[in-house]
Each structure stands twice: as C-alpha cells, then as structure tokens.
Amino acid sequence: MKTNTRIILICSGKGGVGKTTLTANLGIALARQGLKTAVLDADFGLRNLDLLLGLENRIVYTAQEVLEESCRLDQALVKHKKEPNLALLPAGNPRMLEWIKPDDMQRIASMLSEQFEYVLIDCPAGVEDGFKNAVSAAKEAIVVTNPEVSAVRDADRVIGLLNTHGISPVQLVLNRVRPKMIASQEMLSVDDVTDILSLPLLGLVLEDEQVIVSTNRGEPLTLNGTNSPAARCYSNIARRMQGEEIPLIDPSKEGSGIRDKFRRLMQTKIF
C-alpha cells in the first residue's frame, strides 16, 4: 500500500447538501491537475456518482465483484474518457448493504491506493453502518454543509464521530452560499458556520444554477473550464488541496451598488 495516497471521505450527516456533486467536481479538477484520482461511490443504497460523472452506461463490474474476487480491480474501474486521470469505482447492488463490513472498505481503499494519488470516497448520508464502513477506510475528511440550521447540526454530529475515529485533518466546505441573503442577514454567514463548528474552512461554493445544468448533462462544471461561480469555487478547492494558497471568495464583497454598501455597513459587528 502506498502510504502517501490521500484517502479522503466526503461526508455531511444530512442528505442532499452536495456531497456527490463535490466529489465529482473535485475528482475531475484534481485529475485535470495531472493527479491520478479515484472516486469511490460508498453510497451503496442510493448511488449517483456514476450519473453526475456521465459514466452510468459504461459500468460493467462494481465494487461488489471486486470484493467477491470475481473480477480484477482494473476491470471494475471506469476511466473517464475526457479526463483519463480519473476513474470511478461504482457502487454495487444495494443488497451489498446487508453484508459489507469496515474490513471490506479497507480492502478496497488499500487496493486503490496502489494505483492512485487521491481516493475520494462519496459517503452516504446518516451516521449509521454506511457511514461507519466508509469512515474506516479514510485518513482525512471533508465535511460538506449548507448555511442552514439542520445541515450545521448534522455536520456537528459527524465531526464528533470523525474525531473519535481518529480522522485528521477534517476540513469544511460550505456549499450553496447566497451572498445576497447573507448581506441582508437572512442566512448564516461563512464566519458564523466556521465559528460554530470550529473547523478550518477548505472553501465555500456559491449557489449556482449551472450546477443543475451540469448534472443534466453528466458533465461536472470543472470538466470544461467554464467560468460559472460554482466552477471557480470547485477548482479553487482542488488547488487548495494541493497546498496552493488561494484567497477565499468573500461573499460580502459581491455587489458594489449603494444598496450593497448599505447592507455591508449594517453587517458591521459591534460586539
């Protein structure tokens, strides 16, 4: 097993906050930087990563056949046509949930780490067995959350569990940020969330309609170098993962009209 492979769990507790979208976009963005990257769909119950990457029609074998030793790992890996540095290991049949154990996930992760520099694990929602299996294979984690009370609360639960599993570092991605709502103080700000969760921020992702367009097409935003707001955020995150220092987009600096300036003034912290 190569020891310098970064095996990163992408998790959230709550469902629908943007884990799979982040996994797909970071996978492509890291691969575009020339890094050999594998994305592992650990959401065996509700697999979607294949769909977001546009690879759903090219799946022959899955993690299930690899574990049963009825195929080799490289037969199950689906290489991305446009970005050959990226490969997907698809989730097997949902019935896998009945027998898969932490040991199985560790076996898959150690096989992948022989060939890849990055292994990104798309974690299922919840904090039960699916999460526990996935976390046992990971070294680091990215916690995805939205600036909403329920998502932040669930993220906090997951952070506690990651700590007890000895995962480190654990970093935060705040997804679906709406600068206008933050400015009028009808949405938790980036600082609010990082203060409450006391986690280092790896990046934020702006709310962006283009995310939906790209999922329709099965082409992650980071694939064609588009310049939509979320696309910029995803590539910044991928570059920060590689140690580059890239300043955060400051949502409160978006907009320069007199109204925006007034909103900014009203956001001044007094105490």
Binding site: E148, V149, R153, Q185, M266, T268, K269
Partner: protein, 98 residues
C-alpha cells in the same frame, strides 16, 4: 451583534433570522455535544441549588443551570440570583453550627 441587530432592537423589530439561527444552533449543539439528558440536567440543577442555598439566600425560582458551548468546549453555567438585603449586602444564611 451587528449594527442591524441593534437597529432592530431599537425599533422593536424581529431579530434577523441569521442571528436567531445562530442562537438556536449554539443551544442545541451544546446539548448534542454533552449527551446529557434533560432529566439529568434538571437533577443537577436542583442539587446545585440546594448546596448553594445552604450558604446564601437565593431565588429558587429564578435559578438556572444551562450548557454553553464555544470552540467545541462545553461549559455548565449556573446562574443563581442571590438575594440582597436593603443595604445591598448579600444575605448569608445563619448557620447554627458555624
């Protein structure tokens, strides 16, 4: 607290929903992180009040024990209003055995 929060207070308007969210999260996370049941917390509150009431006169109705959290550290905070005499001095309990 932000300028807008202060303005809202002065105008007796509702606080912004972001500041309500902040406060609610801080409370709920303190409980989630501590794993203490409300019953246990209430039992602790009663016993703490009893101990303190042995020495000073406190307002038993007003006393509150709560959990607060910052930087993933949880603190048990007791707020026990002490009754004062007319001159402002703290009312000590007169214990015969001292």
């Amino acid at each position: 607290m932000t300028l807008r929060d202060i303005l809202n207070k002065l105008l007796r308007r509702q606080p912004t929903s972001a500041s309500t969210a902040r406060e609610r999260l801080q409370l709920v996370l303190a409980h989630d992180r501590s794993d203490l049941s409300p019953e246990l917390l209430d039992k602790m509150r009663k016993e703490i009040l009893e101990v303190v009431a042995k020495y000073v006169e406190i307002d038993l109705e007003e006393g509150a024990v709560s959990l607060e959290t910052e930087d993933r550290m949880t603190a048990l905070v007791a707020n026990l209003p002490i009754k004062r005499t007319v001159t402002g001095a703290i009312k000590l309990k007169e214990n015969d055995d001292e």
